[in-house]
């Protein structure tokens, strides 16, 4: 059952060097605060996993947290490149980064299979792309045992830890996600441990019928971190800071400027609250 911890304790307890860690979120509910805490704790050698590594993974990769990345789209949405990700792939800075590259459809099947306790899932058809030959051990061409139709097996993924941000948890440890959930549910069920940061802990989730609720026995640790998704957003709490995403393009272009920014705004920040206050985004 879910334990209520500080963010520091949740990360220190459950995230160890060398683990496979999925900080999911699809534009919405990206767990920035948790990723920053991983950076602050100096954890390295992680296998980071996420369909859409964006600014948070750019920051983590640029700070040397990761040695492997499993992903399907790595960009700054609507803005352009992730310069730190590119620098790692193109120049090996600050370290070489092994890519396990997929399409969204493949990642979606891999998470779902992992969540369902299956060793692999299926997609319709074979593929005439240059991506598939790079996926030895992760995808394979098979045929329907009934019809002979071409299918592709996609190996399940099971992160050691999935980290999510969500709107609310109740005191029993049930977690409510509202709005765009992306692959969050499947990434949680696929994982061996699940850490969730939430905007607030409440007596009653007030969840509508059929809402997306992660039940308490699927959640390992909960930390209350208001604003924990900023500059991504939390539906019903605050909007996405598009200007931050646009401004990041300049910050991340230069290694020194990036390191300086991270040092001042993340590494030396006492907490996520202090980070937000220093950015001047608190009302």
């Amino acid at each position: 059952m879910a334990a209520f911890l500080s963010l520091e304790d949740a990360i220190a307890t459950h995230v160890k060097p060398g683990m496979c860690v999925a900080l999911e979120g699809f534009t919405h509910l990206i767990p920035f605060a948790a990723g920053h805490e991983i950076i602050r704790q100096g954890i390295t050698g992680l296998h980071l996993m996420r369909m859409t590594p964006d600014l948070l993974y750019d920051q983590m990769i640029g700070m040397g947290v990761a040695d492997t990345l499993t992903f399907s789209w790595g960009g700054n949405p609507g803005v352009g490149s992730l310069h730190r990700l590119r620098d790692a792939v193109e120049k090996g800075w600050p370290n070489k980064l092994v890519l396990n590259e997929h399409s969204h459809g493949e990642m979606s099947v891999a998470y779902s299979a992992g969540a369902a306790g299956l060793p692999h899932g299926l997609m319709k058809g074979h593929s005439d792309t240059d991506l598939r030959p790079l996926q030895t051990g992760r995808t394979a061409e098979v045929e329907c045992v009934f019809t002979g139709a071409p299918l592709t097996a996609v190996r399940a993924v099971n992160p050691d830890v999935t980290i999510l941000h969500a709107q609310k948890a109740d005191r029993a440890g049930n977690v409510l996600l509202e709005g765009i959930t992306g692959a969050a549910r499947d990434a949680a069920f696929a994982a061996k441990a699940v850490i969730v940061t939430v905007e607030e802990i409440v007596d009653d989730l007030g969840a509508p019928m059929n809402a997306v609720v992660l039940p308490r026995f699927v959640v390992t640790a909960i930390a209350e971190v208001p604003g924990g998704a900023y500059p991504s957003y939390t539906h019903g709490y605050y909007g996405r800071d598009n200007s931050f995403y646009i401004a990041w393009d300049e910050v991340a272009r230069d290694r020194d400027r990036f390191r300086d920014w991270m040092d001042r705004h993340v590494v030396k920040a006492a907490s996520h609250g202090a980070h937000l206050e220093a950015l001047g985004v608190l009302a």
Binding site: F26, S72, G75, L85, E90, S103, A183, R240, S243, V281
Partner: protein, 267 residues
């Protein structure tokens, strides 16, 4: 384009919008595809269904999303479902009429590269990667590609085939029983290319008002085929242009609004 009262980007968006039949179920990306779909739904296709891979189905944004998972898309959607369901039930399940795609490179058969420039293991430019493009181009009944036409983008040979278009042409895709037909049109800043009925090779079939076929040929990295008779595409109407500019103005204003967090307390 000198003397024009509109940009080539506006013309591309308008041309793409006009291609959308009312009621079509569209799998939409950010940028021009979003603009084209929203514009079409304001002008001639009020029953267009917009689906974003983030999980928003039947969304009606009043401003264009900067990212594919903006809150606006969820707030105005008929349904917000897990991304896994979008890819399984909607896309692979055969529910999508039109998918929009762009890319860094396209070849003469509409195959697309959005992965790397240069070798995969030592790229000169690492691009964002596949996203949902390989599944969209496979399963949507029809594919519209939107790209500026340049020698860097319209290449004789892709550095990397991220998404399978018409493969090596000559009906190969049909013979392989792909669920969807693949790219049926490429909207560029010169006009429209469509695959030849026999060879599948992309052919310039329509030009925007004032655009010249020889300029399109010069902007293409392979010897571009030009149809015998070239349609001319009418410039944007006043209604189209006003609607598009209003949309863009609303969008820019919305994206400029600073975000302030009203937090109960900070941890």
């Amino acid at each position: 384009m000198t003397g024009k009262t509109y940009t080539s980007g506006e013309m591309m968006t308008v041309a793409a919008a006009r291609l959308l039949p009312d009621g079509a179920v569209c799998f939409v990306g950010i940028g021009k595809p979003s603009a084209a779909c929203v514009l079409a739904s304001m002008i001639h296709a009020p029953n267009l269904v917009l689906i974003y891979e983030s999980g928003t189905v039947g969304t009606r944004p009043s401003v264009l999303p900067l990212s594919i998972g903006d809150g606006e898309l969820a707030d105005t959607a008929d349904a917000v479902v897990p991304l896994t369901e979008i890819f399984s039930h909607y896309l692979q399940g055969g529910r999508i009429d039109v998918g929009f795609l762009g890319a860094a490179q396209i070849d003469r058969f509409g195959n697309l590269n959005s992965t790397v420039i240069g070798p995969y293991d030592a790229p000169s430019t690492r691009l964002p990667g596949a996203g949902g493009a390989p599944e969209i181009i496979t399963h949507a009944r029809d594919i519209f590609v939107i790209m500026n036409q340049t020698k860097r983008g319209f290449v004789d040979k892709l550095d990397f085939r991220t998404s399978a278009g018409l493969l090596n042409g000559g009906g190969e895709r049909r013979r392989k029983n792909y669920p969807g037909r693949g790219p049926s049109v490429v909207v560029t800043d010169f006009g429209l290319l469509r695959p030849d009925a026999e060879t599948d090779e992309l052919t310039l079939v329509s030009l925007f008002d004032g655009a010249k076929a020889e300029d399109a040929v010069a902007a293409t990295g392979w010897p571009l085929r030009v149809a015998g008779k070239l349609d001319v595409i009418a410039p944007p109407t006043t209604e189209e242009l006003e609607a598009l500019r209003d949309l863009n103005a609303r969008t820019e204003a919305a994206h400029r609004t600073p975000v302030k967090l009203h937090l109960k307390k900070t941890a």
